[in-house]
């Protein structure tokens, strides 16, 4: 107990200025050398007693602390601690909604069915109180994803310490998000409809709509047109390979249809999101090199007869077969829960995924899925120095205690609206 209080006091002391919270850190000027920690590289490998150095926002050295090399800039002794690449939240909506129940604070979906031209980035509130609350848990990057409609819009990838959406973005308009229709439908019991689950007679029609929109889009983007069609033009990247198509889909039949139709259209980069039933079509996924972003494991199994750990073991089942797997944030209260990303990975690890692989799911593999692995996701020389130091295993709630975090080499504040209140009221009672 005393030790813990002492620890927290240390954190306070280190961070120092309470007012500094929320202010984005400025460009890295001095280099850092972190020495003695266990480095989780994010690619499945660990270096015990490591030395990690970074300058000008980039990692310059990754190796053993035993290496005889000059330490650059400020040296941080981190024996017994752990270093991780910044965790990356996929399919997140941070900064798009502040308070779920307050409509005025909600910017996550647009009306209309086909909205590829709608871009999440411009609505991204870099100063959201939710965004800053990610950082003390090691979540330092996120894919900000619009919701709603058939094609929800275009996502972008941000780092979570920024003044505005421009300096936040690390990859603008990375992907387009498509919600695949379900082949089954059931009535809404709360409206007194028959809850029987039946084949959805609209399914083929719904697929046709998507198919014909994308066919039009392909055609539009292959010829020169004098009249601009914003939605069709927005899909250009799908056909030239510069943008990925994230298909949010459940069910083995639906996944199969989604992949086949997209491939026929010549869409190069596909990602399956949600993916219930994906374990039944792994051959298709692997042969087409398609990753799966699983929903958060902290949800209930789909049906009464499912095993209690169904949502926990799915990651292991897919990874074992060779599928590239990430963790998405979709679900209830997704924004505030995004900071639990490390614990989702931990839960997958508790149920069969090898521990370093679980780390990889939210670092190296997440970056690979997003297509930002050239500069983010792992602790490798030349990549962004987006990383953090934790007192212990960052996938475990008890030891996910983050003392230092860096985004592109910038030492960021770990203060939040919540830590401010914590200190304000702790001090109030201490004083009394």
């Amino acid at each position: 107990m005393m030790k813990n209080i002492f620890k927290t006091l240390l954190i306070f002391a280190f961070v120092g200025n309470i007012l500094a919270q929320q202010t984005p850190a400025s460009k890295q000027i001095t280099a850092f050398s972190i020495e003695g920690a266990t480095a989780h590289l994010g690619n499945g490998k660990i270096i015990e007693n490591s030395l990690i150095m970074f300058a000008d926002g980039k990692i310059t050295f990754v190796g053993s602390a035993m290496t005889k090399i000059a330490r650059m800039g400020t040296t941080i002794k981190a024996e017994g601690k752990h270093i991780y690449p910044g965790f990356i939240a996929l399919d997140a909506t941070l900064g798009l909604v502040e308070i779920d129940a307050v409509k005025a604070s909600d910017d996550e979906s647009e009306i209309g069915i086909m909205n590829p031209h709608v871009r999440s980035l411009i609505a991204y509130n870099a100063e959201s109180k939710l965004v800053e609350s990610m950082r003390p848990n090691g979540v330092l990057m996120a894919q900000i994803t619009p919701k709603g409609g058939a094609i929800s819009g275009t996502s972008s990838i941000v780092q979570l310490d920024a003044w505005n959406f421009e300096d936040a973005s690390i990859k603008t308009d990375d992907a387009i998000h498509l919600n695949w229709p379900g082949s089954f439908t059931s009535g809404r019991w709360w409206l007194g409809e028959d809850p029987a689950l039946k084949p959805n007679s609209e399914y083929p029609k719904n697929i046709d709509k998507i198919n014909s929109f994308l066919t039009d889009a392909k055609h539009y983007n292959s010829v020169k047109s004098d009249i601009k069609h914003l939605p069709l033009a927005a899909t250009k990247g799908l056909f030239d390979g510069s943008q990925k198509l994230y298909i949010h889909v459940n069910g083995q039949k639906e996944i199969t249809d989604a992949i086949n139709i997209s491939k026929e259209l010549g869409i190069k980069n596909l990602v399956i999101v949600r993916g219930e039933g994906a374990e039944k079509v792994t051959d298709l996924l692997i042969s087409n090199n398609i990753p799966v972003i699983l929903s958060r494991p902290h949800r209930n199994p789909n049906s009464e007869d499912d095993a209690y750990d169904d949502t926990y073991t799915i990651a292991k089942n897919l990874i074992e077969k060779g599928v590239l797997v990430g963790i998405g944030m979709e679900g209830q209260m997704d924004r505030m829960n995004t900071r639990n990303l490390p614990f989702y990975a931990g839960t997958f690890a508790a149920f069969g995924v090898e521990k370093e692989k679980a780390v990889q799911m939210i670092t190296g593999d997440a970056a690979k899925i997003l297509g930002i692995d050239a500069f983010a996701g792992t602790l490798e020389v030349g990549k962004d120095a987006t990383l953090f130091i934790s007192d212990g295993d960052a996938l475990d709630m008890r030891t996910n205690q983050i003392s230092d975090a860096y985004i592109q080499g910038r030492k960021i504040s770990l203060e939040t609206h919540q830590t401010t209140l914590w200190k304000r009221y702790s001090n109030k009672f201490k004083a009394e």
């Binding site: 505030m336 209140l421 009394e432």
Partner: protein
């Protein structure tokens, strides 16, 4: 098939008759002698008294004589019933015959209706004992025909609308007379249910527990009214009191409801007759314990169409089993000596009545019991001894059959009601069914006749190829037209007891030849029968508790268990004990020590493992059929204990995560909510056994956005602001005080369940767990409590508790909070995960709760978050999900820690219990292993196997031509504090 014969249905010689004191203007007055003797029949006087070769003498609609040596008076019409059987006609006690259900009028108003619409009646529109359906009764000829065909002679009908629905009418299904004769009783029973009336939009009650509480208050008020204490007239209560001595028939939706209804009745000395639902076999012991007489429907679940495997995967084992097990329900009831009548209620088609009953008999249900359940038992329930039997003096309500009425091959020929004949299948029509060899035009055809009475039909085949043909017959004459390379017309006579037919035929060219058909030898028939019976091997899946996937076939037994060499998290001052042995005996923690050794008991090697007390969830909404009774701003009269649902799979999922006790709280729709149920998650037990013995009494209060209807589009109920919330409390407690003064004065007082509950709070006998968010409202409730001299027990959620932790500590209230929820609504904008730590440091007893069926299965992780946020020590963090919630729930003398003498509710983990990598290996409650990782794997396999079996059986049914239903996925309802359910009407 062409029917030449009309079914002369209401073939009755008597005209509709008028009462004999009515004036006649249509001719001279005629008095008809109505004396008929049925001779040579087998007569079921009652299910127990069967007389062969006897006579039934009917006079003026009643049985005049019955027996072997009845003297037939002169002038009697004689009907010879050789080889025929007579049974009393059947009685259906749960019917809406002739009474149209009022249509609900869609309301355009967007405001919620809280008040009653009627004046002079009870304050709640769903209590309608004054309903007397005689005024709207219209004898239904069409329905009568169907019921007569099925063998029914009497129904007890009522208006199926409301919670108390008014009285029934006992009606003889006699189409040949007027209501003056056929209505046997205009006040035959009183009907009740848990469904609201469609005639009023009054919101209360919005839940089943509300309906139960309402019934209780109605009974109390009726008593108060009967004593003349009410200043006003209340026509509803007045009639309720008048109808007190009628049989009270309560319609329920499932076996849980049956037990619930019985519980309410028992509290007021009323034994309801319960209309069941056909699932009684799932909890037959509970059904038996009600001591109620039941009225049971036989609408068996039809098989699902499982040919699309993607769809089939969606059907739960629970629903699949219902199809398989439903037909065994009657046998189970019979075997357990439950007295019951049968009803046609719920049957989509009356044609299925006999089909389903035959199926139940195939499954072992006794025929004699079947007859009793349709005759003597319903007669006894309705208190009419002249129905349901053919004793002298009873109504001449009887059916004439070709044989055993429960045999598929038998035919009901006639159904006599009040001595009036109704022909169903003319008994003079010969039975010519069978397989014949038809010889005509030099060819031999296979000719088979199937069906009953006038509906007998023939098909013709030539070398297994079907030949197009038309067939008809009347009396002994038969006509066939067949199309085999041109039309041939056949006409002939049936001779020789239907074994041979012969006659003349005209071919396409009009040439006359002769034809004949002779019945094939019965050998084949016998063979066919054999095939059929071996075909129909009946496999009934065993019932588990609850009867769902992962249910238990036998409940775990309390055993002596010694857990050796384990790391023990005591949740006591002793902290963590390494390499320790724990002995569980007689459901208690018997001994904690080193090197314990007891011979001959189960030993578990705990090396490398951790043993903790079972997790306690202070705030849960699993295992309940209802959450909110939000129709009033106070619902202190309702209790979750009334609606605990032991079939909820979340109970099993929670024990798989180490949770063993939960407070099931009312929701947060209103400032004064309902009472809690504190349950042990003893998966497989019934509701009663799950609820704690001598459970501490709790009630939910709520503050903030939910109670002031912040997100409701039509919120109009007081309060709409935090200012109003305070006044609700002050008002109710003030009234409770006044109530107490009156009660203590010795003067008569109207017993009010709500006030009684509030009094318990004021007197420290009931504890409040109050849903709360922002500091001002927390502070307010503390002040209200202090003003009324009591203590708030727990603030639950309490997300801004950290801002007033000092005040909480001073008041002595505990805090039960989420680990890290926030930002989902405006009032949680300042919620911080450090809340638990700050409150703890200020001296508040703190628990971490779930309010969510998913969080409640991994509260160990949520406890671990307090280590991260605010630096709680691991020991203190662990207490927040064990001993602290036990303290807050006043059950810390029983559970919450590993201490000698406490109940053996323990969890064995494969790892540090707060590690993210921890997995539960065993969950033990009261010394019984309710969850075991290994058994869980076996159960998964068993589910797969059983589903496979049932799917095969269903496919067989479908291929065999059975009607199937589309797969239905069970709607998984995720209850939260703010879940507003709607009680159906």
């Amino acid at each position: 098939m062409k029917k030449l014969l009309f079914v002369l249905f209401f073939l009755s010689i008597s005209l509709v008759k008028a009462q004999d004191y009515f004036p006649t203007n249509s001719g001279v007055k005629t008095t008809k002698s109505n004396l008929i003797a049925f001779i040579n029949a087998t007569i079921y006087v009652t299910p127990d008294l069967i007389i062969q070769n006897s006579t039934l003498l009917v006079k003026d609609g009643k049985v005049a004589e019955v027996g072997k040596s009845v003297k037939i008076p002169e002038g009697a019409k004689i009907i010879d019933l050789k080889d025929k059987t007579i049974y009393p006609s059947f009685i259906d006690l749960y019917s809406d015959f002739g009474i149209a259900k009022p249509k609900s009028t869609p309301s355009n108003s967007r405001t919620t209706q809280y008040e009653a619409e009627r004046e002079g009646y009870y304050w709640n529109d769903h209590i309608r004992p004054e309903t007397n359906p005689i005024e709207d009764f219209k004898f239904d000829d069409k329905k009568t025909k169907e019921l007569l065909e099925a063998g029914f002679g009497t129904v007890n009908t009522h208006l199926q609308d409301g919670i108390i629905r008014g009285n029934g009418l006992l009606v003889a299904l006699n189409p040949n007379t007027t209501n003056a004769y056929r209505i046997l009783n205009i006040k035959s029973a009183q009907y009740l249910s848990f469904s609201k009336s469609v005639q009023s939009k009054q919101l209360y009650p919005s839940s089943k527990m509300g309906a139960m509480a309402l019934l209780r208050q109605v009974y109390l008020d009726a008593n108060w009214y009967a004593k003349g204490n009410m200043k006003n007239k209340d026509f509803a209560l007045e009639v309720l009191n008048q109808n007190k001595n009628l049989v009270q028939i309560f319609e329920t939706g499932d076996h849980l409801d049956a037990v619930r209804a019985d519980k309410v009745g028992d509290e007021f000395g009323i034994q309801y007759t319960i209309v069941g639902s056909g699932d009684e076999f799932e909890r037959i012991n509970d059904i038996k314990k009600t001591n109620a007489t039941f009225i049971i429907p036989i609408d068996f679940t039809s098989p699902y169409d499982v040919s699309n495997h993607l769809l089939a995967e969606q059907i739960s084992l629970r629903d699949m089993r219902r199809w398989n097990q439903d037909p065994s329900n009657l046998l189970t009831l019979e075997k357990n000596k439950v007295t019951f009548a049968l009803t046609t209620h719920k049957l989509k088609s009356l044609a299925n009545f006999h089909k389903n009953l035959q199926k139940a008999i195939e499954y072992g249900f006794d025929k004699k019991a079947a007859l009793a359940s349709l005759t003597t038992i319903p007669a006894k329930i309705i208190g009419n001894s002249s129905l349901g039997n053919l004793n002298k003096g009873s109504f001449a309500n009887f059916i004439i059959t070709s044989g055993d009425v429960f045999d598929a091959s038998s035919t009901i020929h006639e159904n006599w009601v009040q001595g009036e004949q109704n022909i169903i299948n003319d008994m003079n029509i010969k039975d010519i069914t069978g397989d014949y060899m038809l010889a005509v035009n030099g060819k031999n055809y296979d000719f088979s006749i199937t069906g009953k009475g006038a509906k007998q039909a023939g098909t013709i085949k030539l070398e297994d190829k079907k030949i197009s043909s038309k067939f008809s017959f009347q009396n002994d004459w038969i006509e066939i037209t067949l199309d085999d390379e041109g039309y041939t017309r056949l006409m002939g006579k049936i001779i020789n007891a239907a074994n041979v037919m012969e006659g003349s035929a005209f071919d396409t060219k009009g040439n006359k030849t002769s034809w004949s058909a002779s019945k094939k030898v019965a050998k084949e028939e016998a063979k066919k029968k054999d095939e059929k019976s071996s075909d129909k091997e009946i496999v009934v899946m065993p019932v588990s508790f609850p009867n769902v996937g992962f249910g238990n076939y036998t409940q775990p037994k309390s055993e002596s268990i010694l857990i050796k060499n384990v790391t023990v998290w005591t949740s006591e001052d002793e902290g963590i004990l390494e390499n320790t042995d724990v002995l569980l005996k007689d459901g208690k923690i018997a001994k904690i020590g080193k090197n314990l050794s007891v011979k001959g008991i189960v030993e578990i090697d705990g090396t490398g493992k951790h043993l903790t007390a079972g997790i306690i969830d202070e705030h849960s909404h699993i295992a309940t059929s209802a959450v909110n009774e939000g129709a009033h701003n106070s619902s202190a009269e309702v209790t979750i204990e009334d609606v605990v649902d032991p079939t909820d799979i979340n109970i099993y999922r929670n024990i798989s995560g180490g949770t063993t006790t939960a407070q099931i709280l009312h929701g947060s729709a209103n400032p004064i909510g309902g009472r809690s149920a504190i349950i042990k998650l003893k998966w497989g037990e019934n509701a009663e056994n799950m609820i704690y013995n001598n459970s501490p009494k709790f009630i939910k209060f709520a503050l903030g956005e939910n109670v002031k209807q912040s997100r409701s589009t039509n919120g109009t109920r007081f309060p709409q602001s935090r200012m109003g919330v305070e006044q609700v409390f002050v008002d109710y407690f003030t009234r409770a005080k006044e109530y107490e003064t009156l009660k203590k004065s010795g003067q008569p007082f109207r017993k009010d369940i709500e006030m009684e509950t509030l009094l318990e709070i004021l007197n420290g006998e009931r504890f409040i767990s109050c849903h709360s968010y922002v500091q001002s409202e927390i502070n307010m409730l503390i002040k209200v409590a202090e003003k009324f001299n009591f203590k708030i027990n727990t603030f639950t959620h309490i997300l801004e508790g950290y801002k007033v932790a000092d005040k909480m500590a001073k008041h002595g209230v505990g805090g039960s909070t989420f680990s890290d929820w926030w930002a989902y609504k405006y009032e949680v904008i300042d919620a911080i995960p450090y809340n638990a730590a700050i409150m703890h440091n200020a001296g508040v007893t703190v628990a971490i709760n779930s309010d969510d069926r998913e969080v409640s299965r991994r509260l160990n992780q949520e406890a671990a978050k307090t280590v991260k946020y605010g630096g709680m020590s691991e020991l203190e963090a662990w207490k927040m999900v064990t001993i602290n919630p036990a303290k807050l729930l006043h059950i810390d003398d029983k559970v919450g820690s590993i201490k000698e003498g406490k109940e053996a509710d323990v969890v064995l983990w494969n790892n540090h219990p707060m590690s993210i990598y921890a997995k539960v290996e065993k969950t033990i409650i009261e010394g019984k292993v309710f969850f075991d990782l290994k058994e869980d794997l076996e159960k998964r396999e068993a589910i797969k196997e059983e589903k496979g079996k049932i799917i095969n059986m269903m496919l067989k049914e479908k291929m065999g031509g059975a009607k199937t239903q589309v797969p239905v996925k069970r709607e998984d309802r995720n209850f939260h504090c703010d879940t507003l359910e709607e009680l159906k009407s």
